[in-house]
Symmetry: C2
Subunit: 290 residues, 2 copies
């Protein structure tokens, strides 16, 4: 894997004012952290060569996803400020990047399915996945804090991880907390779908972007692992809900690039008299917490 | 208009166990209540002929949408149990139907943009649109109650109206309140969209269906009115988020039919260990009300 040149999806970045964003759809090898970190470095470099300023990597990209058991996951985990973040910080500093990546985080004896946000100054924030999918709860402890929103050189960046995307309450929260763009490392398990339909995982992302008027950048998995295959649905979606770039149908490793005018996410108006935040009827929403 | 035969989209209803649902995409004439009610009757009859048991009609279908002012709207409004519901009740009784339609409701001096649910026993419930779009707030008072969910012969039916669909809190609530299928009269104003993209209005509906595992049946508008044209995006969406039927691209009046196995919406599980309701982190969602 490490010798291939990552395919860069579509045309080179057009000129324009938007922030160049890259989502890297990768196929880590379960259990091979050194190889996976090399692969991540290669992808981040390739994205930087293409002009990216914000780079998003998949969920658990340094370890792989389909762990045999908690012991295997533990053997691949590291502290949030461990070697992966050290290496990403060097890359971020050298190339002027903001990088979001999914890693298995060890905090003492506790494991989290986390996303880290790194820039040239180092680790800026860690987010611990709050909604765990399937067997993840045998291995990871769910996070108990909202996604951070970090002021960076490329705008206000929020983070969620995979299954979090299926909870509109969570996506609303990160938008209310000020995210211009939400970065989402994912490992979307493949499910059959009707002919000609875009994956529902991507549809949900489009809707979340539109109802909150935030950009969303999803880095999904390529390849397959211990019998599990993935949607390979990496996408960069605009604040109006329409995709700016989506992974091609090959399911291969690839980088999807788009420019995002992230400042436009700060205007929540959808018309002269409407605003997606102000028009909420919060007085009537109490029941959604019950 | 009244002399044309409504196009029925796609093949006749297949055999099967699901509830036959029809959404009627109509082009009412602004201001002509008698003509519009005739048109509604024709559509409901045509849907019943096709085997439908649940029939959904657009927002403000008896009046049209682009009112000159509140006085015009008032002249077209009627009580929830007025002549429209009387006529729909007769049709529902004769043909064994449940019907949801959008009407301008007059409650004393107050006007609401309402949806009514009717079966053979008469008016079962009225829902007053809680999220008003653009100039609607010059004319209508926003509703102050949650959407009702009504136990009917075809399942538990919820109602929302048009812009309500853009608030995931609201869609969550009607699902939590037990709706198997949410009926949504709409008048979606047309907006440009990228080539080849499904309208974002439909994408949002797909996502709402998927995250809540409810069916959603949307009856949108055809035609244009006083310079406003419509998406004409009527659709019946399954609990997995994929459409069972969508209006064709003509933008014409038409009936879209599909069978909905509505009982499947009562199972919120998405896998052996996941459930879209139980997996919510309500302990962490408080902020969405702020």
């Amino acid at each position: 894997v490490s010798d291939t040149v990552l395919h860069v999806h579509g045309a080179p970045l057009p000129d324009g004012d938007g922030i160049p964003v890259a989502v890297c759809q990768l196929a880590p090898r379960i259990g091979n952290r050194d190889e996976n970190l090399r692969r991540v470095e290669q992808a981040v470099l390739r994205a930087a060569e293409q002009g990216a300023r914000l780079v998003v990597l998949p969920e658990l990209v340094t370890s792989g996803y389909v762990f045999r058991d908690a012991a295997e996951a533990r053997s691949l985990a590291e502290p949030a400020d461990g070697p992966t973040v050290t290496r990403l910080t060097e890359l971020a500093r050298k190339h002027g990047l903001v990088v979001v990546a999914g890693i298995p985080e060890a905090a003492g004896e506790t494991l989290y399915n986390s996303a880290v946000l790194v820039d040239g100054s180092g680790l800026r924030a860690t987010y611990r996945k709050a909604h765990l999918w399937h067997g993840e709860s045998d291995i990871f402890t769910p996070g108990s804090a909202r996604p951070p929103v970090v002021e960076t050189d490329v705008g206000r960046v929020g983070m969620v991880v995979c299954y979090d995307l299926e909870f509109p309450e969570w996506m609303r929260q990160v938008a209310l907390d000020g995210a211009d763009i939400v970065c989402a490392p994912t490992n979307w398990p493949h499910e059959p779908r009707p002919e000609g339909e875009r994956p529902i995982e991507v549809v949900r992302v489009q809707a979340s972007a539109a109802v909150n008027r935030t950009f969303i950048a999803v880095a999904d998995r390529a390849g397959s692992e211990r019998g599990v295959s993935w949607v390979s649905g990496s996408a960069i979606v605009s604040f109006d809900g329409y995709p700016l770039g989506v992974a091609d149908d090959t399911g291969d490793e690839q980088i999807v690039l788009a420019r995002c005018e992230v400042h436009r996410a700060r205007n929540k108006r959808t018309g002269p008299r409407n605003d997606v935040f102000a028009d909420r009827r919060t007085d009537l929403y109490r029941g959604t917490l019950e």
